[in-house]
Amino acid sequence: MSVPLSIALVFRRRALATFGMCWLLIVGIAAIGAPLLAPFDPLEFDPFVRLSDPGWPHLFGTDHFGRDSLSRAIYGARMAILIGSGSVLIALVAGGLIGMLSAYFVRLGHLLMRIVDVLMAFPALLLALVLMTLLERSVLNTVIVIGIVYATTTARIVFGMTLKLKRDVFVDAAICSGARHASVLFRHILPNLVSPMLVQASFIFAFAQLQAAALDFLGLGLPPEVPSWGNMLSEERIYVTRAPWLLIFPGALIILSVFSMNLVGDALRDNIDPRFKNDIAGV
């Protein structure tokens, strides 16, 4: 079944997944329209309204620098989308290529999968921490690091799925009819991987949010001045007793977004080739 059709089918059936999709759409709109939607400059200090309660004009209140929380949250949507899609892109392209090539070319596979094994000997968060230690704190580096962490998982998953596909008759037929390697890989194998990889992508998108928030919290993720939901939590956590809303809003935003993405992945997973269902690393 084609991917768009299956998405339509799934969403007709699953109200929760539809809710998830709607929420992600809102986050997307906030990310694109942030300069228009944000009532204040997310970086502007206002020492006269430090830690003010939610109300008018600061709907979500202000942080300890007097910055408008709502504006920071809206700009935070940008970071969420950027980190999610950036790391998904890296993980799927790098991991997907490594996995496919390794399964298809057996000898190359021995070498590449060994390297993947070595990287997977490092627990995900530890690998991210170590890499961040070596790099400067920046948005790009955070995306790259999280992308690399999930590229290893993706490589192993795609490796397994490609091996299964390789045993299929149609791939044999393509090889026997003299198709070139590139053609077998990209015209016969890849199309069958698109749906499961889309499912995997939604879960990676969700994991990446949590991973990025954890890095922010540890002071090893995005630079502190960048308005991200993780940074908002990290910076204001000592004021939690004086201004609990400062943690509730960004926390709820992270939870809602991760939950939504998980719901979407879960619903989509129901519709993929059952052979691949257990390969997916997800919730």
Binding site: L16, R114, I115, D117, V118, A121, F122, P123, A124, L125, L126, L129, V130, T133, L134, A206, L210, A213, A214, F217, L218, G219, L220, G230, L233, R237, V240, T241, P244, L247, G251, I254, I255, V258, F259, N262, L263, D266, N278, V283
Partner: protein
Amino acid sequence: MLNYALNRVLTLVPTLLAASFLVFMFIHLIPGDPASILLGDTATPEEVAELSRELGLDEPLWTQYVLWLGNVLQGDLGTSVFFREPVLSVIAGGAETSILLATMTMFWIVVFGVPIGIISATRHGSWVDQATSGGAMLFASVPTFWLGLYLILIFSVGLGWFPSSGFPSLADEGGVSNLRYLVLPSLTLAAPNAALIIRLIRASMLDVSREDHVRTARAKGLHPVRVAIKHVFRNALIAVSAAFGFTFAALVSEAVVTETVFSLPGIGRLVVQSILRRDYPVIQGVILIIVVFYMAINLLVDLAYASLDPRVSLK
């Protein structure tokens, strides 16, 4: 079984060597001279020169690696810049907290995860199932530090039931009752992991329950609960046991965030603090130990897997 175990250990050796090489390279990837990095900012030029000689820094990289590995195998992981103590003893200082925290977390994961997962699977499609599996997914979507902060807010600050931070050793005053310091941290760390286990048990049990042999079991007239436990859960356990292992192995590093929230003197917090203090020998040592531990647990998981599934050939 012994042959199988030996075989698995032997195949792990190359991966372990490669991983240790990466850990070794860590110091060399940091911009600057490794000897000065290892000694910190306060070292004199003489000290730096001496350590350079010791590490064989003018030798080729692989000779340095062999030297380093030789030291590591003798238990010498270098000296902490910050503590001025051998790295191994610094790490050992955090071991008690980390191991107790991981064990207690595993306890919650089993106590909450297994029964809820089984109930969710056996009541598949009912509102109980929808609530538990949906709730589990929600819990898997919560950042641990956020959950930890709110648990502190409610149960320490608000109700005063549990201490909010720190952990005195069990050997200190208070003895075993000091475990109460670990209740909130372990619950925090357990929440997302138990959620994943619930989802996994549910999915695996649903897979198994569609197999033919479950119908055979029902045809014997067995009680549904017996079918669910002895035939469905037991078979699902093969897949689930692997997840238990991986979860436990990952707990020590996942605890980084939790230990920071609750200011626990564990290995996880040591990593973060060492990174912030630029105490590179400690960072390197901790990474190495966590990686070795992680691989050892994964090996045990493999062996457990083989013993749970008679179809896995032990040759």
